[in-house]
């Protein structure tokens, strides 16, 4: 078990390095850097001015070099610029070069400075992640129990009317992406179009003070799309368990149906959905970006959208690192959890 976790960790770190390198490469492409120079300097810069701007700020170094510096395993650049000013990667505002630390990458917890929000990236990420955390908490509170209940009810009597109607409901929910359900919900429940204006169409107020009126629609919009998928997996797992030998034995012994479902079947039926729920996290990020943009809830997804559309390289890199990290950690948890929950699987 320990060796298994170690190996998984190794693969995870390798994956994280590869993915962050790809993100780094894509954000540091020449056209992106030129756009950055023009937005930071001025839009009528000549090509030579752009080149010297980028050279002076270390953007013209080779890609592995830049990546190493950003990661914090190579010393940050110190470049005497063509305009006579000496700039260093690790030099803070108004700080003499000699006092600056040699290394300043994400390993040293230096995430850079956002050009859009004019703030340290680490502060922005922390603040936005907390807001998204709140959203995700409520999404999980709605989605997981809802999906498990639907799945178990549908799966305990395969082929019954309940099964068929609940399966249809879960197919409809998997076929409704967030941008469709969100738009439909807002149109139906937040505008006077159908006379059912019960909720708020924006969740901006929910950032400070979340309540049922302003937070219900974003939560249910994200929850609905994932719910159908988890419910179908739970149903498949439940029907499989219900045909197992030991359930038949219990039924023949005369144990009543409710006890069989709750005591005998449920525990085994919930192993598979656990993995599925964990693997839903990367997809939930999709939903988070869409819903936060749609409802104007300024969380992590909204930040991703802003960083990407305004070419805010450092912020985009940090957001990517965090999301890749979340995805990989959930994969790791799902792998380990599966082995842990299911005694039939032994890793030697």
């Amino acid at each position: 078990m320990g060796l298994f976790i170690l190996r998984r960790l190794g693969v995870m770190i390798l994956t994280a390095l590869c993915l962050t390198f790809v993100v780094f490469w894509l954000t540091n492409l020449t056209p992106n850097l030129e756009k950055l120079a023009k937005t930071q300097g001025n839009f009528r810069m000549s090509d030579e001015a752009v080149t010297s701007y980028l050279t002076n700020r270390g953007y013209k170094q080779s890609l592995p070099q830049k990546y190493g510096q950003w990661l914090g395993v190579l010393p940050g650049y110190v470049i005497e610029g063509s305009d006579g000013e000496t700039r260093g990667r690790c030099v803070a505002f108004e700080q003499p070069i000699e006092e600056a630390p040699r290394f300043c990458g994400i390993l040293q917890n230096e995430w850079g400075f956002s050009t859009v929000f004019k703030e340290d990236v680490s502060t922005i990420i922390a603040k936005r992640l907390a807001l998204t955390g709140k959203l995700m908490f409520w999404v999980m509170m709605v989605m997981v129990p809802g999906a498990l209940i639907i799945g178990v009810l549908a799966g305990m009597r395969e082929g019954s009317g309940t099964d068929r109607s609940l399966s249809t409901v879960s197919i409809i929910s998997t076929a409704t992406p967030e941008y469709v359900s969100g738009v439909v919900f807002i149109a139906a429940f937040a505008t006077p179009l159908f006379g059912m204006q019960y909720f708020k169409g924006t969740a901006t107020a929910a950032m400070d003070d979340a309540n049922f009126i302003n937070f219900f629609l974003p939560v249910i919009t994200i929850a609905l799309y994932g719910m159908g998928y988890i419910a179908r997996m739970t149903r498949a797992s439940m029907t499989e368990v219900m045909t197992a030998q030991y359930i038949r034995t219990a039924r023949l012994k005369g144990v009543n149906f409710r006890t069989i479902v709750l005591r005998h079947a449920l525990r085994n039926a919930l192993i598979a959905p656990f993995t599925v729920i964990m693997l839903q996290f990367p997809w939930l990020l999709n939903g988070v970006v869409i819903v936060e943009t749609l409802f104007n809830y300024k969380g992590f997804g909204w930040t991703l959208f802003q960083a990407a559309s305004n070419n805010d390289i450092e912020l985009l890199l940090a957001v990517s690192v965090v999301s890749v990290f979340v995805v990989l950690v959930t994969q790791l948890i799902s792998d380990i959890g599966y082995v842990f929950l299911n005694p039939r699987i032994r890793i030697s």
Partner: protein
């Protein structure tokens, strides 16, 4: 002309009927669900004289009521559509007028369903689809949009106005509004109202279907080519090849899709050589696939193999070269007279990224199936016969893996449609005036709280297409499991 109401004269008796049917359906379904926890399930009892009797008590009664109410709802909806299509224009309101516009689609659908049901026993898996209600509903929804897309895209039918023409005075107007005199269009109304640039929402929705129906299945097909060509050897040989390919697939799968889109589908990347290079790599897979497929089959008969390969590969290579050779980019090597078509670079990058995102999942599925099927007897028999590895993979394993692959193909088209919509929703890739559903939803959402009607039709259209594909996949899975 008067503005149209939703149902017109038809509504006076169909609306109450519809309301009653829906209320009955919901109430009965709810009672049935509550009862199913306590009451004993319905059982069939066989009598001595060979007849069957349903013994259901209360629960059985409500189960039958639900079914009857469901049929009633379907009948009323069909009534709206059929009667609306037959009544003169304007009498049956917006729904009737829309149904009239879709008249060619209804004819095609009816013909297709009648023919398919009549010959369903001779049509293999496709025919079996017509044994399951769910599958039929799904297939109907999908074909509705396919016919719409073909008729609108290739024959310029169905749409009432030009999707890009703005008519002054119709900005954000509600459904059924009358257009001013002298507007070029086939009917005097904006059936679903005008959007924030005073364009006809109904026509935009129709034209949007062409884009979606053209891109989504094709992108899925390419993803399948890539996934199959790489997944079969990975599963069949295993070993180091499998380890490397699986690591790469997991790498792409661990990349959050939305992030990849934001990084890949930007104007800077569109103008860079990256999409073309990715297209060169991804689009070579169909060539490899068909070359190996045909060669492994006919390599013992060179007289037959060589002409087949030359023709097939020649056509494919020509398509491939025309596809990647773009005028004005770094890979414009084909002379103009030889270049069949040029793809808009925005659409190319959307296409490439959708294929790129989908292929690792297909790879994993194919690899799993190959791992499972390579231990079968018929594989051993083929190997004993002395067949080559690629023959075994492509002509023994692949045909036997078709069931799950066809089901996943349907699901994946739906998923690709959702991805395309996501791209449109964030305004990535496709031009902003493009009528595709994602972009239209994006346009509509900006004023959603004031004018909700422009965003709803494309949203519902997208929902119905994806739902149709999911139901179709469900029906296919059910029927293919019965074998």
């Amino acid at each position: 002309m008067e503005p149209l109401s939703w149902t017109g004269a038809l509504g006076t008796f169909l609306n109450p009927a519809f309301g009653i049917a829906v209320i009955c359906l919901l109430a009965s379904a709810f009672i049935q669900m509550v009862l199913s926890f306590t009451a004993s399930p319905m059982r069939m009892q066989s009598n001595a004289d060979g007849t069957l009797v349903k013994r259901g008590g209360f629960l059985g009664m409500f189960e039958q009521t639900t079914q009857a109410a469901l049929w009633a709802v379907i009948l009323v909806i069909l009534g709206y559509i059929a009667v609306g299509a037959l009544m003169p224009y304007g009498q049956a309101g917006i729904i009737g007028a829309m149904s009239k516009q879709f008249f060619p689609v209804w004819i095609l659908l009816t013909v297709m369903f009648v023919l398919s049901i009549a010959f369903k026993r001779h049509l293999g898996l496709y025919g079996k689809l017509f044994d399951s209600i769910v599958g039929m509903i799904g297939f109907g929804l999908v074909m509705f949009w396919v016919f719409t897309a073909i008729l609108a895209g290739a024959f310029d039918m169905l749409a009432t106005f030009d999707p890009l023409t703005q008519v002054s005075g119709l900005k954000n107007k509600t459904p059924g509004v009358t257009v001013p005199d002298g507007t070029v269009g086939s009917i005097p109304h904006y059936l679903l109202g005008g959007d924030n640039l005073a364009r006809d929402i109904f026509s935009r929705m129709i034209h949007g279907s062409t884009i979606v129906v053209a891109i989504a299945p094709l992108a899925t097909l390419f993803a399948f080519m890539v996934g199959i060509t790489l997944g079969l050897p990975a599963g069949f040989y295993g070993g180091r090849l499998d380890t490397i390919l699986s690591f790469l697939a997991n790498l792409i799968l661990a990349f959050p899709v939305i992030l990849l889109f934001f990084l890949l589908v930007t104007p800077e990347i569109v103008n860079s050589p990256i999409p073309t290079v990715m297209a060169m790599v991804l689009f070579i897979f169909p060539l490899i696939f068909f070359a190996v497929l045909l060669n492994s089959r006919y390599h013992t008969q060179p007289a037959k193999r060589t002409p087949i390969l030359v023709v097939v590969l020649g056509v494919l290579a020509w398509l491939y070269l025309s596809l990647i050779s773009q005028e004005g980019t770094s890979v414009a090597f084909l002379p103009n007279w030889f270049d069949l078509f040029d793809i808009n670079s925005g659409i190319l990058v959307v296409f490439v990224s959708v294929v790129f995102v989908n292929s690792p999942t297909v790879y994993r599925i194919v690899r799993g199936l190959a791992l499972d099927l390579r231990t079968r007897d018929y594989v051993a028999a083929a190997q004993t016969r002395g067949e080559g590895a690629w023959y075994v993979m492509l002509w023994e394993i692949l045909p036997n893996a078709r069931g799950p692959l066809i089901v996943d193909f349907c699901l994946r088209i739906g998923y690709t449609t959702i991805l395309l919509g996501t791209l449109g929703f964030f305004g990535l890739g496709l031009p902003p005036e493009s009528p595709d559903w994602g972009s239209t939803i994006n346009e509509g959402r900006k004023l959603l709280l004031i004018f909700a009607h422009p965003a709803l039709p494309p949203a519902i259209a997208l929902l119905s297409l994806v739902l149709g594909l999911n139901l179709l996949a469900d029906g296919l899975r059910e029927e293919s499991l019965k074998d």
